[in-house]
């Protein structure tokens, strides 16, 4: 136990709050809320230390903890965690989103707060775990653990159709995960280890090699699990249901972090472990990504329910992320990773906004609103910024990601320029549905009696939104800072994927 790294500390901090919540029965509701918030803020603070200690000149893992966990003759399963340029921003995204979700829940969650906040902390623990685990088996454990709190969050605190949504969410993701489990076991058995860096090293050195069809099968085993999580078209149908039924905090976490586990999985596992297959499958995945971009946008446009609109817009945005990743070059992957963070911030913010509207009017139908700007000017002003960030207005965060992804996909060796052209159609459509929503909800005459006296933001809501605004501008204006952390890790990844066949680094 002599080398507990900072990463492990960050991982374990949520549990520090989790256990008292579970075992101490005498806590009052107010104590529970503040305890959870404090723990999540401390976790965020600790994760900021990660940034400070991170050496962006280094490509490999940093702040590693590597202990033996289960040892059984031919193989060992290790507690092996660490961060590199690919995962660090996602860890920060998780710890950043969590306090906001908790803060928003202060007023909106009245029933069974002890269980609720305990589940949120468990959720945070598992999410951080997913992003730092470097052992396939450990990763799988965290991956599955995230399902459980989310299942209960939707199932207990959701709206009318919550049971259906919760079960659909659970089964759908679970089905994909099982294929991944098979692939993990197979791979671990072949390689003699579950440690990802070791497996990658073996593959790169040619020590471990598969024939084409095996590699493809393994690729698909992982890819399907991740694609369901992303979700990629046409495996997306659990998402709108889950989002619409989930409580606001659940939606925020789901959109903000859980979906990124899928895209992250592609970057972390599929690309470096199966470079050949990644190149072969890239055009097909890119086709699905572009379909997702346009499809998600189009479906959003036809929605009557604000929350559904936002939910479908996620499909469109994550299509961009996938397109960037499978451009298989530096710009694309870095853009993809940044866009994961951007989407977490913007869409997380959008779900908070929808939640605030719902708190006030107990409906999510767009037609119930109109002219909100006159009643709630502060709320509307903030909404506008977040809507614009989601649309990719230059100067705000979304643009940097989208632009980088388009540069990546246009310069890709594996994708034709048509992908870029069609993807940019998605940006136009993003403006269509977002402004359509903004117009119906915020603009127009304030002609509904119920909307006239809507109170503007109170302090918890305001403080849940301010960090989002700060990040929207910070990433939009100083994207270079964020890319600097990824640069070396992604370059190394690009080398691994391109192998010796085509050197595309820097393209």
């Amino acid at each position: 136990m002599e080398d507990i790294s900072l990463v492990t500390v960050v991982l374990m901090l949520p549990l520090v709050g989790f256990f008292p919540l579970v075992f101490v029965r005498s806590l009052t509701d107010q104590t529970i809320r503040w305890l959870t918030l404090t723990v999540s803020i401390i976790t965020f603070g600790a994760s900021l230390l990660l940034l400070r200690n991170f050496d962006s000149n280094q490509a490999g893992l940093q702040m590693v903890t590597d202990w033996e966990w289960i040892s059984a003759g031919s193989f060992t399963i290790r507690y092996f965690v660490g961060v590199d340029g690919i995962s660090i921003w996602l860890v920060l995204l998780s710890t950043f989103i969590m306090p906001l979700a908790i803060l928003f829940s202060f007023t909106s969650i009245k029933e069974r707060p002890r269980l609720y906040y305990a589940l949120l902390l468990l959720m945070e623990w598992a999410m951080i775990g997913v992003f730092i685990a470097q052992d396939l088996f450990l990763f799988y454990v965290f991956w599955e653990v995230t399902l459980v709190p989310m299942y209960f969050l939707i199932g207990i605190w959701g709206s009318e159709d919550r049971i259906y949504a919760a079960i659909k969410f659970f089964l759908y993701t679970m089905a994909g995960s099982l294929l991944m489990l098979v692939a993990i076991l197979w791979l671990g058995n072949e390689a003699g280890t579950f440690a990802v860096p070791d497996i990658i090293a073996q593959i790169q050195s040619g020590e471990l090699s598969f024939d084409v069809s095996t590699e493809r099968l393994l690729f698909l085993g992982f890819a399907i699990a991740f694609a369901i999580k992303v979700p990629m078209w046409p495996l997306h149908s659990w998402l709108p249901d889950a989002h619409v039924q989930a409580p606001t905090a659940g939606s925020v976490i789901l959109a903000g972090v859980l979906l990124k586990m899928g895209t992250y999985g592609f970057v972390r596992f599929n690309l470096p472990m199966f470079p050949e297959a990644s190149r072969d499958f890239a055009p097909y995945i890119a086709v699905l990504a572009v379909i997702g971009i346009i499809y998600g946008a189009w479906v959003s446009y036809g929605q009557k329910d604000v929350k559904k609109l936002v939910a479908y817009s996620s499909i469109s945005h994550l299509g961009f992320v996938m397109l960037g990743i499978f451009a298989l070059n530096s710009a694309g992957i870095q853009g993809g990773i940044l866009q994961m963070v951007n989407h977490g911030i913007s869409t997380g913010g959008l779900f908070l906004l929808v939640g605030m509207l719902y708190e006030r009017r107990h409906t999510k139908l767009m037609s119930a609103f109109g002219g909100i700007w006159a009643a709630m000017p502060l709320f509307s002003g903030i909404s506008l910024v977040i809507v614009l960030s989601s649309m990719g207005l230059p100067g705000l965060n979304g643009f940097v990601g989208e632009f980088t992804i388009l540069v990546g996909s246009a310069g890709s060796d594996v994708l034709s320029i048509w992908f870029t052209v069609f993807a940019s159609l998605g940006i136009i459509l993003a403006a269509v549905y977002m402004l359509y929503m903004f117009n119906t909800v915020y603009m127009g005459a304030l002609d509904k009696e119920e909307n006239r006296r809507l109170p503007d933001l109170h302090w918890q809501e305001l403080w849940a939104l301010i960090p989002i605004l700060i990040m929207v501008f910070a990433i939009g204006l100083q994207a270079g800072y964020f890319f600097d952390f990824m640069d070396n890790s992604v370059s190394q990844l690009v080398e691994q994927v391109s192998g010796s066949v085509v050197a595309t680094a820097g393209r």
């Binding site: 207005l393 230059p394 100067g395 540069v407 136009i428 270079g480 820097g506």
Partner: protein, 756 residues
């Protein structure tokens, strides 16, 4: 690091900083106070203007030896991707310097005007925040040293146009127009963004210095084959960039948003039509011209693909919009179409390589169009006031007001904007009438004394020259532009005479006024001679009118004198000014452009056509002013059928609505959501789910019959086996020994077999 911010290299940062700073200050701190917000906004743009002038002087002064060949600027690394770095920086070359003469000044005047115009608006502070951002974005765009920063300014302006056109957001037509503007321009923007991305991939940089000021790079771009469509990379990028301009500068077929953009407050229209937005589109192609023309020797009639696109689109737009402007009765809509038409002039000019002329017209147009719009704003204010007064006097029941429609309607004209309801405003708002006349003459290209004449003439002269050489594109341009010139002069005259001339046609026009000079005017002897004493002098805020009229006077001055800097050197008398503009701007291009030889024919042609148009206008609307019950002579001459087509804007908007927007909506709801998402994708899932339920049911049956059968069977079997086995254990030793012997024999036999 010790930076002298007042150095010409760094000063541009400050120029764009101040308006943006005003925006931030108003939004975060001063939004509650109208006066402070107004002051902050004016201070921001005012400082920007002063600094721009300083910068301009510095640039001109520094480049005395070789005018313009020095480029000022500085940049910082913004972000690194792999091995490539994006830089953000500013650049001031002669073109930028020329724009700096116009943009901050026009913005400042518009801001000042807004103080008067928006005085009674409840969202006064918000308005100033938005226009500060608008001005800041435009300055960013003008000063940017790379396409990415330019694009940032470009898109932020798109946002501002959305917010400002929809500023009166409680009006459905306003926010619909806002969305229409944003969406239509965004179509062009995205093509442009693809172009920028592709440029970055081919050139590995977006910096103007390394692309536009670099012959090798231009040659490289012109010789690299494009990934799609054939042709060179430069051509593909160029066409994509031009698509951006088509959207932003409201060219056919993306021109539909601009006529509706007047749903916003009038100062906004002035911003959009003059100082910012649409000028930005043309500025971008002017800026990128070396790239657009790369690899094409246009002096010899070899036009590159982007140039052909610009030439054709510009010509069509210039003529088409001029035709439409004739058929409008809304004073702002007439001006909107005239803007589209004039922008067509500039785009067409670039198409035939008349680079200096395009930039020249861009700035002149900005001055006189800002003037015209702001004057029209005063007219509308005066009319609104008149309606109010008339209603108090109880006259209004005589004139039925059209019902205000819900949402954007093509042929609805708000009563205060309707020139048919005006007439006789000359006596009521004389300053506006005179300044608007000056602006109108400049727009019409009144020979020799107006700025509009010189720049328009230069475009036509260049096209004439090209047509003389036998270039088809130039011929198309010159024909369309000359035809448009007549129409321009005509509709300008129609607008002015119908608004200001003759006697008031409605009680609203009778009572129209904005206070101020009018009061003195009405009491003057001249007015008394015209029997105006009977009209009540309205008591209005005099300072409000001053804020509006002073900018008009300044702009009227510019609408005349801004043109003399660009007179051809061979022109008699005025040529003695030595055409400083051409020399100065020319330094921006690698190859100093040569002015075409002076030719009297195009000068005469454009002068005569302008005079002819104005003359016809005077003949129809000036000689015998329209009475209250008279029909519009233009409408009569064209016939109801054609008039209807013009009123409906050639049905292009309707076409888009019916064949693009509606089907897309229908497709979204019925096909994508219902058929694909709900029925197919979820349907497949449901089927799988049902299959599993069925399987579960099957297993349940299987369980009860087979497994439970087996399960119940096995214990039974074991029981009966045990019963049978019990009989083996008899308790007799001999029997046991026998078993042991048998077992040993069996084992022995087994071992024996194995050993063998």
């Amino acid at each position: 690091m010790n930076i002298n911010w007042f150095d010409a290299d760094y000063l541009p940062w400050l120029i764009m900083l101040f308006p943006l700073l005003s925006f931030v200050i108003i939004v975060l701190f001063t939004a509650r106070s109208r006066i402070v917000s107004q002051f902050v906004a004016l201070a921001g743009i005012g400082i920007a203007w002063v600094l721009s002038m300083v910068e301009f002087v510095k640039v001109v002064w520094a480049s005395d030896a070789e005018l313009g060949h020095e480029v000022f600027g500085s940049s910082i690394d913004w972000m690194t991707l792999g091995t490539r770095t994006f830089e953000m920086g500013v650049l001031v070359d002669p073109l930028t310097a020329y724009m700096l003469l116009m943009v901050p000044l026009a913005c400042l005047l518009i801001f000042a005007y807004s103080v008067g115009y928006m005085r009674s608006d409840p969202h006064y502070s918000r308005f100033f925040a938005y226009i500060s951002l608008f001005a800041g974005a435009m300055l960013t765009l003008v000063l940017a040293d790379n396409l990415l920063l330019l694009f940032v300014g470009w898109e932020v302006m798109g946002l501002c146009s959305y917010l400002l056109i929809g500023f009166w957001f409680h009006k459905k037509s306003a926010y619909q127009a806002g969305v229409k503007a944003f969406m239509t321009t965004r179509v062009g923007d995205m093509l442009m963004m693809v172009g920028i991305g592709y440029l970055f991939i081919v050139a590995r940089t977006l910096d103007f210095r390394e692309i536009l000021y670099n012959e090798e790079m231009l040659a490289h771009l012109a010789s690299t084959p494009a990934v799609i469509f054939g042709g060179s990379a430069a051509a593909l990028i160029g066409v994509l960039l031009v698509a951006g301009t088509i959207g932003k500068s409201s060219q056919f077929p993306l021109h539909v948003w601009l006529p509706d953009a007047m749903e916003g407050p009038t100062p906004v229209s002035a911003m959009i039509h003059a100082a910012t937005m649409v000028s930005a589109g043309v500025y971008m192609v002017v800026r990128m011209f070396p790239l657009l023309s790369a690899g094409a020797d246009f002096h010899a009639g070899d036009f590159s693909a982007p140039m052909i696109v610009m030439g054709v689109i510009g010509s069509i737009t210039a003529l088409g919009a001029a035709i439409l402007a004739v058929g409008q009765n809304d004073i702002k809509r007439i001006l909107a179409y005239s803007t589209i038409s004039q922008l067509g002039y500039m785009v067409a000019a670039l198409g035939i390589g008349a680079w200096v002329a395009a930039a020249f017209h861009l700035v002149n147009h900005a001055f006189f169009k800002a003037l015209l719009f702001m004057a029209s704003g005063v007219v509308i204010h005066a009319m609104e006031h008149g309606q109010h007064e008339a209603a108090e006097h109880g006259d209004e029941h005589l004139h039925h007001e059209p019902e205000q429609p819900d949402g954007l309607v093509m042929d609805y004209v708000p009563p205060a904007n309707d020139i048919r309801r005006m007439g006789g405003l000359l006596d009521r708002i004389p300053v506006t009438a005179i300044t608007m006349a000056i602006g109108g003459l400049s727009l019409a290209g009144f020979p020799l004394i107006t700025a509009g004449f010189w720049s328009k003439d230069e475009i036509i002269a260049d096209a004439w020259h090209g047509a003389g050489e036998g270039y088809l594109l130039a011929l198309l341009v010159v024909l369309c532009l000359l035809a448009a010139a007549v129409l321009t002069a005509f509709y300008t005259a129609r607008m002015w005479f119908m608004t200001f001339w003759g006697a008031p046609r409605t009680p609203a026009a009778q009572h129209a006024g904005i206070g101020s000079f009018r009061n003195a005017w009405v009491r003057s002897r001249w007015a008394r001679a015209r029997r105006l004493e009977g009209v009540a002098v309205s008591h209005q805020d005099r300072s409000s009118a001053l804020w509006m009229e002073v900018p008009l006077i300044v702009l009227a001055f510019l609408a005349i004198f801004a043109g003399f800097i660009g007179v051809h050197t061979d022109f008699p008398l005025l040529g003695a000014l030595d055409n400083p503009l051409h020399e100065f701007l020319g330094g921006t291009l690698l190859e100093h452009p040569t002015a075409v030889d002076f030719n009297w024919l195009p000068v005469l042609a454009s002068s005569l056509l302008a005079l002819a148009g104005l003359g016809v206008g005077y003949w129809l609307y000036g000689l015998r002013p329209l009475g209250a019950e008279d029909a519009d002579p233009a409408e009569q001459a064209l016939g109801a059928g054609i008039w209807r087509v013009l009123e409906n804007r050639f049905y292009i908007d309707i076409l888009y609505r019916r064949y693009l927007v509606r089907p897309a909506e229908w497709f979204a709801v019925n096909i994508v959501i219902q058929a694909i998402d709900k029925e197919t994708i979820d349907g497949v899932l449901e089927t799988i789910g049902e299959a599993f339920v069925w399987l579960g049911e099957f297993f349940k049956r299987f369980n009860t019959i087979v497994i439970d059968g087996v399960g119940d069977g096995i214990p039974g079997a074991i029981g009966s086996f045990a019963g049978w086995f019990r009989q083996v254990q008899t308790g007799r030793i001999q029997q046991y020994l026998l078993y042991v012997t048998l077992a040993l024999l069996a084992l022995g036999a087994l071992m024996f077999i194995q050993i063998r």
